[in-house]
């Protein structure tokens, strides 16, 4: 079996590609090759030994889906790809749009639908949660600088100011909202989201939905160490049935198909979980899941290949991941190969 995976950017803001590959390769039944699909010749995953058997540069989805499909077809002719697992937020809409054309080529995917991707978009999540009685911080969408003056009075400071795709700032007063608004609208465009700040601890769940509403597996984690970019650099699996039941409810209501990460905050005041985000792919810490007893990336492979699998029922509580920075040494020849020929 030949599986192509994107997101080999194992940087300080890591893509999930390498942990997805590690998980798949860790499964005793896996027998095949991994093809890395990369956007940059310095993605660290290219140079990691025993990860991808081959790597190919592909164009950014923003260059056009026809170009992307053409490149994948060319790679497919050489490698006979059975399955593609895109792992980056920014490419998921594109891959969801070309999945039928990939299928015609004989390449399988296991992706959320466009409708599911829209539900979890930051400008729609509030409505989804309120209609299903899922706690979510109050928010307002700003589509022009005049909208800053329309923020309701019941929004107490601090508030969180978020970009539509990435970035979030905590603003302690009106002037800080204005600064954050201009910074983010210049970078990410509109709308900008102003969200109620819930004081409490953050919890994350990595999960896999089969597309019918069934949860194949879910592992909750508490971040033990957070970088200045807000990325978890260490974490521990925890045992909280409330958190798991809430995650299963979200998967059931969305009929989620694919891997996902659910981000919550547990209010110090009420002890209730508030859903902050649904990330429509496995997180960069997904390798914790197989080590806690649920190999969710390999389960996704099985589902994509049409196998029927039983949902996971348990996992080891207290399993810890600690991320590490590690210098890889390569040579000019390898770098030249990927930069000039687009493959290695």
């Amino acid at each position: 079996m030949n599986i192509a995976v994107t997101g080999l950017n194992a940087t300080d803001n890591p893509g999930p590609g390498i942990p997805v590959i590690r998980s798949i390769k860790a499964h005793p039944d896996f027998n095949g090759n991994i093809i890395g699909l990369i956007y940059d010749s310095l993605e660290p995953g290219i140079y990691m030994e025993e990860m991808a058997n081959k790597c190919y540069l592909i164009p950014y989805p923003s260059s056009g889906l026809d170009m992307l499909l053409e490149r994948i077809s060319a790679i497919h002719e050489k490698e006979k790809i059975d399955l593609i697992i895109p792992t980056l937020d920014s490419e998921l809409y594109g891959f969801a749009k070309i999945k039928d054309r990939l299928s015609e080529l004989g390449i399988k995917t296991f992706l959320p639908t466009i409708q599911q991707l829209n539900i979890r978009a930051k400008d729609n999540l509030f409505d989804f949660c309120t209609s299903h009685e899922i706690k979510v911080p109050k928010n307002i969408l700003l589509t022009s600088s005049n909208d800053i003056y329309k923020i309701p009075k019941d929004f107490k400071y601090p508030v969180v100011v978020k970009g539509i795709f990435y970035d979030a700032y905590i603003a302690n007063n009106f002037d800080e909202i204005k600064t954050a608004f201009h910074k983010m609208s210049a970078k990410w465009g509109y709308p900008i989201i102003v969200q109620e700040f819930i004081k409490g601890n953050e919890f994350n769940v990595v999960a896999l939905g089969d597309g019918t509403g069934e949860t194949i597996g879910a592992v909750p984690m508490k971040k033990l160490y957070i970088t200045d970019k807000g990325k978890g650099w260490a974490g521990i699996t925890i045992d909280d049935p409330n958190l798991l039941n809430l995650s299963k409810k979200i998967i059931s209501k969305t009929k989620w198909k694919s891997g996902m990460e659910l981000e919550y905050i547990k209010s110090e005041e009420t002890n209730e979980y508030y859903l902050l985000e649904i990330n429509p792919r496995f997180p960069a810490w997904v390798y914790l899941a197989p080590n806690a007893g649920q190999n969710l990336p390999y389960a996704l492979v099985q589902l994509a290949m049409g196998e029927t699998i039983k949902p996971f029922e348990q996992y080891d509580v207290g399993t810890i991941f600690v991320r590490a920075a590690w210098d890889l040494i390569t040579n000019l020849k390898a770098f030249e190969k990927i930069a000039i020929q687009g493959e290695i």
């Binding site: 521990i236 925890i238 045992d239 909280d240 207290g318």
Partner: protein, 84 residues
């Protein structure tokens, strides 16, 4: 003095390392803290605990009661003990 209950999923090791699985938090107890925590876990009440501690440690009952109350207050703050 009230009785206390330690949630069944809270684990304490022989070294005094405590793990709260619902939140992922960990704590470290000193020798006497570990001893009291284990006795609370066994369901012992204040009277039993005070007898056992005073028989091993050189401390008067009033000082122990004050320290015990402070300790239990901290355990309650971290959801490591529930007052019955």
């Amino acid at each position: 003095m009230n009785s206390f209950n330690i949630p069944p999923n809270v684990a304490v090791s022989d070294t005094g390392f405590v793990f709260l699985p619902t939140t992922g938090e960990t704590f470290t107890l000193n020798e006497i803290g570990k001893e009291i925590f284990k006795q609370l876990q066994q369901g012992k009440g204040y009277d039993e605990i005070v007898d056992s501690i005073l028989s091993f440690y050189d401390i008067d009952k009033n000082s122990f009661e004050r320290d015990f109350n402070d300790f239990v207050m901290q355990l309650k703050n971290y959801s490591l003990v529930v007052e019955l």
